[in-house]
């Protein structure tokens, strides 16, 4: 972001709050999963379709976000130290699982690909030599 918007304070604003964005993403996923479970009605209906590609990818994405949400507080950040950063890398497989979930479940792939296209573009443009400073 810093490279796209040089001199802008916006990226810095976002960067400082990225843990909040992560927690918000989990909050959204939790709400989404809750609505799905409510919509399914009977408890037996959920395991009955868990093997479908569009469904297990969703569960995988959600499951990968759980440890991130549980360790998102300051106490866990300090306790885990450098392992906390390593744990944050779970966001990448989670993003891939969520993209797969989105593409498989929907007829139209446009919305999913526009959003993930932007993420992929940012990833491609990311400088390789990011200093390894301890930032949250």
């Amino acid at each position: 972001m810093r490279h796209i918007l040089p001199g802008s304070d916006f990226w810095r604003w976002m960067r400082r709050r990225r843990r909040y964005f992560g927690v918000a993403a989990f909050g959204y996923a939790l709400l989404h999963t809750t609505l799905y479970l409510t919509d399914m009605g009977s408890p037996g209906a959920v395991p009955a379709e868990v093997a479908l590609p569009a469904i297990w990818t969703g569960w995988l994405g959600f499951t990968l976000l759980v440890p991130l949400a549980l360790t998102s507080n300051d106490a866990m950040l300090i306790r885990l130290g450098r392992h906390w950063r390593l744990l944050q890398k779970l966001t990448y497989p989670a993003a891939i699982a969520i993209l797969a979930h989105w593409l498989l479940i929907h007829d139209g792939a446009a919305a999913a690909l526009v959003q993930f296209g932007l993420l992929a573009a940012l990833q491609v443009m990311r400088p390789r030599n990011t200093p390894k400073q301890m930032e949250t």
């Binding site: 796209i4 399914m40 379709e49 569009a54 479940i105 139209g108 446009a110």
Partner: protein
């Protein structure tokens, strides 16, 4: 940098254009001969389905509901005959009627 980003965005858009709409097209039918939503619902209920909502898509009635096997599905129905053409469960096709001319 910005240029390559825009290019990537356009690429991701163009790649999806082909299948942006529904996956199934029903044959051309006269709108006057279509079954009503109520008729479609009654027909499906009689066959053991439960209908939660429906809309028009690709010249078909696209029905969201539960099939007789109690699976949460989307079904494309021929708008005039009410015959089920395609059933998909969470994006996985579980039934597809193949036309004789295909």
């Amino acid at each position: 940098m910005t240029g390559s980003m825009i290019a990537l965005m356009l690429l991701s858009l163009s790649a999806t254009g082909a299948h942006a709409t529904g996956r199934f097209q029903c044959e051309e039918t006269d709108r006057a001969g279509w079954l009503s939503e109520t008729q479609v619902t009654e027909k499906l209920n009689a066959a053991g389905w439960q209908v939660s909502r429906m809309k028009e898509d690709g010249g078909c009635w696209e029905v969201y509901g539960t099939d007789p096997q109690n699976r949460r599905v989307e079904a494309c129905l021929h708008p005039a005959s009410g015959e089920v053409q395609l059933v998909s469960q969470r994006g996985t096709i579980v039934f597809y009627i193949r036309k004789s001319n295909e």
